[in-house]
């Protein structure tokens, strides 16, 4: 592939997280029986008119602000005309001439180096209905029809599937961070059209592009791109030319197939949507929306390294999810040792969440309780196995770590007299192992420490136990 260069651009459709639809006040949820969240507007009854959802505009503008777009103070809607079973009006209300956000870029990491993928524009539009294709008919549910979408169109700045994945992952993270969208791919919250072309290395002019329509899994995009770029290269190598066309990805067969050529491309006959007045924004409104933006993942990652002295790796893991990052930060602010908090969050907390299949909001352990728990460990009041036991209780039921330690009698035994006794017992009961240790087999000591722990019912300070054993075995 090295003798060919690829250029990939994306059109990313993102379903915005709003309570109501884009152009009517129907509830914006897809659960429930078909056609139960509909009104004259979203099933296109004669006479129904659209009304803009301000929250959708706000969210799209916020995305523009996040990626450094120029926000249009004046933008308008247009009608895009085509017939299909999932269309309520057989035109889609979208933005063609004056979109909400122009320009901007998303910075991704490529081999540890930053690379900015330029964004051409972001516009606002409405979703179509959900159609189920059966053998001889199609059933259509309009619950999804007119849900708010933003479409983000990039320049062809990505060079391979990995960069596309990095772009989508970064974008998704930002959108979730700012509460723009749930970005649930299984529910179709993020769908992509992928434009790609290849050209011989050294050529400056972009090759002829093809478009892969309606890709809705990251894995699918990756596989489809691998196939499509290779296909284009092989065509060129064989002396052929690429047809400018729309193709679709057949996930089962693992191939892309032609859908329609440029010549048969539909003429959408865009023209202004007279039912909607222009959206006129003022600087004060935009400033207010900007002020609502959360810190972006990349900035937060850098800050975690600087402010809490975390390794890059920890900062990356913790900031991948905004809720986790928020949790970490709430705890770290109260903790003497932020790295210990990071270890607990990345270790026990993420493990427990993963096992329960829960997100952080469901965990009962408060950041303050986690900090208190870490304090108990650091003060050697409890040992690590006991701390994990306390954590599990806190995770499931919440509560105060000290009180749990008290109630369960988990406090470490640091009384050297008691530990010396347990050590003596352990040696007496395991003469053979003791002999092995004396003969220089160091690991045998760990067995004996284990026995001391057992005798103390887990409460002995393991370090003190090891010291006592060493002393007694020497003597």
């Amino acid at each position: 592939m090295s003798d060919y260069i690829a250029s990939i651009g994306l059109e990313v459709h993102v379903q915005l997280k709003t309570r109501t639809k884009m152009f009517c006040a129907c509830p914006a949820h897809e659960e429930g029986e078909p056609n139960t969240a509909v009104c004259p507007g979203c099933i296109g009854l004669p006479g129904a008119l659209p009304v803009i959802n301000r929250e959708a505009i706000r969210k799209t503008v916020k995305v523009g602000l996040m990626i450094g777009s120029r926000i249009s103070l004046y933008s308008t809607f247009d009608r895009k005309n085509y017939f299909y079973a999932d269309m309520a009006k057989n035109y889609q209300i979208t933005q063609n001439d004056f979109p909400l956000c122009i320009g901007g870029g998303v910075t991704i990491q490529v081999d540890g180096q930053p690379k900015t993928i330029r964004v051409h524009h972001i516009h606002q539009e409405e979703d179509v209905a959900k159609s189920t294709h059966l053998d001889n008919s199609t059933e259509v549910d309009f619950n999804r029809c007119s849900m708010p979408l933003m479409e983000l169109v990039t320049e062809p700045d990505m060079a391979n599937a990995d960069e596309v994945m990095a772009f989508l992952t970064t974008l998704k993270q930002m959108l979730i961070y700012a509460d723009i969208s749930d970005c649930n791919l299984e529910l179709g919250h993020m769908r992509c059209d992928v434009n790609s072309s290849v050209r011989p290395a050294g050529a400056t002019k972009l090759g002829v592009k093809t478009e892969l329509k309606n890709m809705n899994t990251f894995k699918g995009i990756q596989r489809a791109l691998h196939y499509e770029l290779q296909r284009q290269i092989e065509v060129l190598r064989g002396g052929g030319t690429i047809a400018q066309e729309t193709r679709r990805w057949d996930d089962v067969a693992g191939v892309t197939l032609p859908m329609r050529t440029k010549e048969s491309a539909p003429d959408y006959r865009y023209f202004p949507e007279a039912d909607l007045p222009p959206i006129v924004l003022d600087e004060a409104t935009i400033a207010a929306w900007r002020a609502e933006l959360p810190e972006m993942p990349a900035a937060r990652r850098a800050r975690f390294v600087q402010e809490y002295g975390l390794p890059e790796y920890d900062a990356g893991v913790l900031t991948a999810d905004k809720a986790i990052a928020d949790y970490f930060e709430a705890a770290a602010k109260q903790a003497a040792n932020p790295k210990a908090v990071s270890n607990w969050v990345m270790g026990e907390l993420l493990r427990a969440l993963g096992e329960q299949g829960q997100d952080i909001t469901a965990a009962k352990i408060t950041p303050a309780a986690l900090v208190a728990l870490i304090g108990l460990v650091e003060a050697k009041t409890i040992n690590m196995p006991a701390a994990k036991e306390v954590f599990q209780i806190l995770f499931e039921n919440g509560g105060d770590p000290a009180a749990i330690v008290q109630a369960k009698g988990l406090a470490q035994v640091s009384d050297t007299g008691a530990i010396e006794g347990f050590a003596a017992q352990a040696i007496a009961a395991n003469e053979k192992v003791a002999a092995e240790y004396r003969a220089g087999k160091e690991p045998a000591l760990m067995f004996l420490v284990g026995q001391v722990m057992k005798l103390s019912r887990g409460k002995a300070n393991p370090q003190l136990a090891a010291e006592a054993l060493r002393r007694q075995l020497k003597g």
Partner: protein, 99 residues
């Protein structure tokens, strides 16, 4: 009508395809004629000097007439489907789609 247009008639079948109207051959011929006539009529607009004239795209004086993100009741499913020619499983039914 200028000669260039005469030699390049309207593709009525193409337009009917976009507008999704089945036409018989006789209808196609008749509309072909009508469309040519209508284009000729509309071509009178070429006599108007529109240099430096902006298009009138927005008539209303209303601006940013938007609503807050608050749900309101719509139609019951029964009302939504009451006029549908074919309904199955609470859904509108279309003939199959051939790509």
């Amino acid at each position: 009508m200028n000669p260039a247009e005469k030699s390049d008639p309207v593709d009525v079948r193409y337009v009917a395809g976009l507008a999704r109207l089945a036409l018989t051959d006789a209808e196609a011929a008749a509309y072909q004629h009508d469309l040519a006539q209508m284009l000729a009529f509309a071509a009178q607009l070429r006599q108007v000097d529109v240099a430096n004239v902006p298009p009138l795209q927005v008539l209303t004086e209303a601006q940013s007439a938007w609503r807050e993100d608050v749900p309101a009741p719509g139609l019951s499913r029964e009302a939504a489907l009451q006029n549908a020619p074919l309904v199955r499983h609470g859904q509108f039914v279309a003939p199959k789609v051939v790509e």
